[in-house]
């Protein structure tokens, strides 16, 4: 585990220990609020993030998600519980150790960008290295590099106020990446941006992540964003975790009524993958089979074309009933007569990408895994069925 949070509790108020005692004796959030006037920010939150994973903490405002992300680098001091980074408990760190940890491990991106208004784009991006005492030339070179990585080449000498919101947040991202941190903490990083810019930034973050492989903790109140970015999602409500899982798990198996109501409005075609709506292939032809066997299988399954695979189900082509009939009795195997498949899709392909593919062809579209092994097929009917089923839930 890169990051692990164990039973984190944060209580805001003048005497949190007293309120904590009440909680430990089993009092609920509202009870504590009513009796002591203390606000429970987060309540017994535990989760872990693996190295290189993107975990999105998702919740509405007041759900405690911003408090949670600040507990991870102790910008907010948890009332009780534990945070471990690479197995090291950071709760006992003194100011000095904590500062070193923040410098070495964390890059943080903020909702309202929090760029330093008196510093140029370049000097903003170099800030993290500057406080570490990296010499000027070195840190500015690194900052330039990072700025060009986020697409801001040529903007180095502008002031933040001269940039659009999207560009400002790129600076924010560059500032976080310039220190080359293992962990990116992103607090509602894209929430202040226009919807179109937001989508661009999401795509860019995903692309960037493929290059840099950071461990990312991303906070958002936008479920679509959570589903798009997160490898896993931690859903929070009123300071508590209500469900943890992949996008698909949360959509298809909501843990509670709250989650179910929450995910109702989601555009499921973006989240459901090819694998979720495909049908198992009823029949395949093997490479060494003859055309006659193929015809027989087609007849049995009631289909007019057959995918041809190797013994390990690696897809090599497709053969139609007419072609098989024409070549019957010439001593050829299916491997000789099959045509290559033009439009196969990966199993992780989102449904909305399948729609154009299916629109182009009347044939079933094969779904394959990473080694091109045939997993199933999608026909128009199964796609519509999948969407209808998901939408109706």
């Amino acid at each position: 585990m890169k990051i692990e949070a164990k039973n984190l509790i944060k209580i805001f108020g003048p005497n949190p220990d007293y309120a904590l005692d009440m909680i430990k004796k089993g009092a609920g959030k509202t009870e504590v609020m009513e009796k002591t006037g203390h606000t429970v920010g987060i309540y017994d939150v535990s989760f872990g993030i693996e190295e290189g994973e993107t975990v999105v903490v998702m919740g509405l405002s007041g759900s405690g998600k911003s408090t949670l992300i600040r507990c991870i680098n102790r910008l907010i001091e948890p009332t009780s519980g534990e945070v471990t980074i690479e197995g090291e408990n950071i709760m006992g760190h003194d100011q000095h150790e904590l500062r070193e940890l923040r410098r070495r491990k964390f890059g943080m991106v903020f909702q309202n960008f929090a760029l330093f208004p008196h510093r140029s784009v370049l000097r903003n991006a170099a800030y993290g290295l500057e406080v570490q005492g990296v010499p000027k030339d070195e840190r500015e070179e690194k900052a330039r590099e990072t700025l060009s990585m986020v697409g801001l080449e040529g903007w180095e000498n502008q002031m933040p106020a001269q940039l659009s919101g999207g560009m400002q947040q790129r600076v924010g991202l560059a500032r976080a990446l310039a220190v080359d941190p293992d962990i990116l903490l992103m607090d509602e990083a894209f929430s202040a941006l226009d919807p179109l810019i937001r989508q661009d930034m999401q795509d860019e973050l995903i692309k960037l992540q493929e290059r840099v492989h950071k461990t990312i903790l991303f906070i958002t109140h936008d479920l679509d964003e959570a589903l798009k970015i997160g490898d896993r999602i931690v859903l929070m409500n009123e300071g508590m975790v209500v469900q943890t899982g992949t996008a698909e798990e949360i959509l298809t198996a909501p843990a509670s009524d709250y989650v179910e109501r929450f995910v109702e409005g989601v555009d499921k075609s973006r989240v459901l993958t090819a694998q979720a709506v495909m049908r198992r292939t009823r029949a395949v032809g093997f490479a060494n089979d003859g055309p006659r066997t193929a015809l027989h299988r087609m007849k049995e399954a009631g289909i007019s074309a057959l995918f041809v695979v190797k013994r390990d189900y690696t897809l090599i082509g497709v053969v139609s009933a007419e072609e098989a009939d024409r070549e019957t009795g010439k001593g050829k195997t299916l491997q000789d007569i099959c045509r290559p498949v033009e439009n196969m899709v990966g199993r992780e392909e989102p449904l909305n990408n399948l729609i154009p593919v299916l629109a182009e062809t009347s044939q079933p579209v094969p779904v394959v895994d990473e080694q091109d092994r045939l997993l199933g097929v999608i026909v128009k009917g199964s796609l519509l069925g999948g969407l209808a089923e998901a939408g109706g839930r």
Binding site: R70, L75, R99, R102, F110, L115, F116, Y127, V131, R175
Partner: protein, 280 residues
């Protein structure tokens, strides 16, 4: 009344304190007095041996650099008018007094303001002190200055510094406290030390507000310098004070106009400095 409460001897206490101070620390106040006075005399002498046209041109050039041709022209005409009224020497005296007093007030006020912004305890102590300093009638500061430094320019400077320091402190505190929380959080998140935060974030972001405070300090210093003429500060205040004593309204008005011109010159120039620091 039979249950009369005796008068609280506030005045006696203050006097005893001041007497004690002058008796035992006269060598310190003497030294400060001598040092300040020779410094002041040196600057005045330097500025008045230069031909007035050169001084005017230099100030005009600064104004043009900071605020453009229009401001430069305005300042040129204003200062030339002071010269024309025959008030060049007192104008220079007052200018020197204001500049030195402001320099001292700011170099004391800025660190105190930083301290007040960073330490809650110090903030609680200094705020009532500042209120006291600002509401106390300005004339009162003149009286203890005399036993410390004697009649003359040093006493004037002492009371001017005390009277004009509060805005520098107050606005430094305000400026630093106004720095948005999310910026502070960002600085913390990247592992800044307290000093790094102060010098790389809080002070630069607060500069505009601090400059406004310095501007206020200059204006207060100028107003005090006129009042301080009563204890022997010369300059334009001296001109006005003389006019009051001799009942010469014309001379008094001339002195007053020169003070107004000087005030505008100083105000515009420091304001432009504030704007410059904001945009750079």
């Amino acid at each position: 009344m039979s249950y009369e409460i005796p008068k609280f001897p506030l005045g006696d206490i203050i006097e005893a304190g001041i007497n004690f101070f002058t008796e035992h620390f006269s060598f310190v106040t003497q030294a400060i007095s001598n040092f300040t006075e020779s410094g002041y005399d040196g600057v005045v002498e330097f500025l008045t041996t230069l031909p007035p046209s050169v001084v005017v041109l230099v100030i005009t050039a600064i104004a043009i650099y900071l605020g453009g041709l229009k401001l430069g022209l305005f300042i040129e005409v204003g200062l030339a008018f002071c010269y024309n009224l025959g008030l060049w020497f007192p104008t220079i005296q007052t200018l020197t007094l204001v500049i030195i007093a402001t320099f001292v007030a700011v170099s004391l006020g800025l660190p105190l303001g930083v301290l007040g912004a960073l330490s809650k305890v110090f903030y609680r102590i200094i705020m009532p002190v500042l209120d006291f300093m600002q509401t106390m009638p300005a004339f009162v500061y003149l009286i203890p200055a005399i036993p410390f430094f004697g009649l003359g320019v040093v006493s004037a400077m002492f009371s001017t510094v005390i009277f004009s320091m509060p805005p520098a402190i107050r606005l430094t505190i305000l400026g630093i406290r106004e720095v948005p929380v999310d910026l502070i959080e960002a600085a913390d998140a990247f592992g800044s030390t307290r000093m790094q935060k102060l010098f790389k974030l809080q002070l630069p972001v607060a500069t505009t507000t601090i400059m406004a405070g310095i501007n206020q300090t200059i204006m207060l210093a100028l107003s005090m310098v006129v009042i301080a003429a009563m204890i022997g500060a010369q300059g334009l205040g001296g001109v006005v004070w003389k006019a009051i004593q001799r009942l010469e309204p014309g001379l008094g008005f001339e002195g007053g106009v020169a003070v107004v011109i000087l005030a505008m010159v100083l105000d515009r120039i420091t304001q432009r400095i504030g704007e410059k620091t904001k945009t750079s």
